[in-house]
């Protein structure tokens, strides 16, 4: 699943790099209060856990075994923002220390496996939790659905990136069918493993499961006189109403997607690719007339158009990130005001 160098062209790599950097910065801001309270050690150990788990072979039936990607699982266990940081850390260490996944593709890898799987997984988990009975155990089927869809969605995003800036000319339909078909299978494995691991954690330390923290039962206290009273369990720090985190997740996804499409329409090369792929019959004829396809790769192909297209794409993504950060700033200002009100 780790994309190597050279799979996507340089502008796409740079653009996804900026998206990844923006997402990590955003997550750092969102998770800041939590990390100040629980320390960086907790996130670091969770990252070490995800790294180790990715090496475990899970028997998933028919004599085959599967690996966990872990995005949806991490999101359910430690929350979406810490999970984005954890997954990015894992990918960074794999890229730098273990030469796994290209360095220019690091942004692509973080966007696909660190950002999309986590956000899709978490948003779906929270959505399904809304309709299930308010019990601790509900988090297992909810996260299963999240894990099931997180992987194929990442595969769709991969196909989309290939349409925008793939270095190789593969028919988009074929690629989409192959990628999504294969990753639906991977997603089923991911769902089975996520469910099994999560139910093991719910069985022993349900209080650790971030996605289900709001499902904790009230404590019933009985004093010496036999009077009973109920108190709510310790509110975890930085706990937010369910709707809001989902809303923020969706908003980020929309903003990111908007940025991507802006990039696509601003990038003449990308449009050319999509056009060639959607109606590849005429494209094939055209290039047959043009002679060798090598002609496309010569000096002529690298004119001002490509540079300006890339620049426009990068500016688009930058604008996206600025908007995202401004939203984050706004949100944290509001959160601060709210906590001040509570304190007074």
């Amino acid at each position: 699943m780790h994309v190597p160098d050279g799979f996507f062209n340089a502008p796409t790599s740079v653009a996804t790099g900026l998206i990844a950097a923006g997402a990590v910065g955003f997550s750092l801001q969102r998770a800041n209060r939590e990390i100040r309270e629980t320390g960086p050690a907790l996130a670091g150990l969770t990252a070490a856990f995800v790294f180790a788990v990715q090496m475990v072979n899970f028997p998933v039936g028919a004599g085959t075994s599967g690996h966990l990607l872990g995005g949806a699982l991490a999101a359910a266990l430690v929350g979406p923002w810490t999970a984005v940081l954890v997954m990015s850390t894992v990918l960074l260490v794999q890229g730098l220390l273990f030469a796994d996944g290209g360095l220019t593709a690091l942004g692509t890898n973080i966007t696909l496996m660190g950002l999309i799987t986590v956000l899709v997984g978490y948003a779906l988990t929270r959505t399904v939790l809304q309709v299930l009975p308010r019990r601790m155990g509900s988090v297992v089927p909810a996260a299963t659905v999240g894990a099931l869809f997180s992987v194929p969605v990442a595969a769709v995003a991969f196909t989309g990136l290939d349409a925008i800036g793939g270095a190789v000319d593969i028919p988009l339909g074929k690629l989409a069918a192959a990628m999504v078909g294969w990753h639906v299978l991977v997603g089923i494995g991911e769902a089975v493993i996520t469910a099994a691991v999560l139910s093991a954690v719910v069985g022993t330390r349900p209080d650790l499961v971030y996605a289900a923290r709001h499902l904790q039962q009230d404590l019933v206290l009985v004093d010496a006189e036999g009077n009973t009273s109920t108190v709510s369990p310790d509110r975890p720090i930085a706990a937010k109403p369910a709707g809001r985190s989902v809303g923020v997740g969706v908003a980020v996804t929309l903003v990111v997607a908007g940025g991507l499409s802006l990039f696509a329409s601003a990038h003449p090369d990308g449009l050319e690719f999509v056009g060639a792929k959607l109606g590849f019959d005429s494209a094939a004829k055209e290039s047959a007339v043009a002679g060798s396809p090598f002609a496309d790769y010569g000096v002529g192909g690298i004119g001002n158009a490509q540079v300006s297209g890339a620049l426009a794409g990068i500016i688009g993504v930058l604008v996206t990130i600025v908007v995202g950060l401004a939203l984050a700033k706004l949100a944290s200002l509001r959160a601060n005001k709210a906590s001040e009100n509570r304190a007074s």
Binding site: P40, A48, A52, N57, G95, F280, P293
Partner: protein
């Protein structure tokens, strides 16, 4: 999995270059390679020669490099399939119909992917994880992220060893092999591993707090790189940039 990553512990000029210089050099080199048109074959030959020189100077044994190239395998398979699935004009070799753009695409993927992996191997084989983190810190990676990274690197071997012990214990109880019925046992172990890692993180944080941690980690880096070290470290990448520009101007 050792905490040292892939470090090859010898002394060489490449090992002595500060990590931040190597990181910048690696990014420049790989970006240069990726943005070179695939059809300019000689440019990739030059890159390979440059990278081979770096491997020689860094005293990394060639078998080590070739063994670590294995991470690329899935994409090699993908690249080899390309000539059969890509569109465009076709030609036949030995009765097989191959797409011209597919062949070029496969070459593109193989050449750029392999150069990228070898370049990353040079970095990881010549830089201790600690130095790498110090380099990232000097390159202004956010302090919180550096802290998370450093804890991950520090505890990677602890968590991996934990996992290993649990696997041995599980298999001693007869839960080995690949039947679906054993998924519960494997997943139970992994769930326990999460709880253990989480609780270890809490304990480590409490220990840090009781020793006066206030939310700011001490800086990892020792000293900056001198101008001479920057020039030395970036030399190969700068030559690569020149090659790329020449490739654009001259063409194939």
């Amino acid at each position: 999995m050792s905490g040292d990553g892939l470090l090859v512990a010898v002394d060489s000029p490449v090992h002595r270059i500060p990590a931040q210089v190597k990181l910048v050099a690696l990014v420049v080199f790989v970006l240069t390679v990726v943005s070179t048109p695939a059809a300019v074959f000689w440019a990739f030959g030059m890159y390979a020669v440059l990278l081979g020189g770096a491997v020689m100077v860094a005293k990394i044994p060639v078998p080590v490099v070739s063994r670590r190239l294995a991470v690329e395998t899935p994409f090699i398979v993908f690249a080899l399939l390309l000539p059969f699935v890509a569109t465009g004009p076709q030609f036949s070799v030995l009765g097989l119909k191959l797409s011209q753009s597919g062949v070029l695409g496969a070459w593109n993927l193989l050449a750029k992917g392999t150069l990228g992996v070898v370049a990353a191997i040079v970095l990881s084989a010549t830089t201790a994880p600690r130095d790498l983190l110090a380099g990232l810190e000097r390159l202004r990676l956010p302090a919180t992220l550096v802290a998370i990274l450093s804890f991950m690197v520090r505890y990677l071997s602890v968590v991996s060893d934990d996992l290993q012990r649990m696997r041995i214990a599980r298999e001693s109880r007869g839960y080995s092999g690949g039947r679906v019925g054993q998924l519960a046992a494997v997943a139970g172990g992994v769930g326990a591993l999460f709880v253990r890692s989480f609780e270890r993180g809490e304990r480590v944080h409490l220990a840090m707090r009781s020793r006066g941690y206030t939310g700011r980690m001490p800086l990892l880096s020792v000293q900056g790189a001198s101008q001479a070290q920057w020039v030395e470290g970036l030399a190969i990448s700068l030559v690569a940039v020149v090659v790329a520009v020449a490739a654009r101007v001259v063409g194939s």
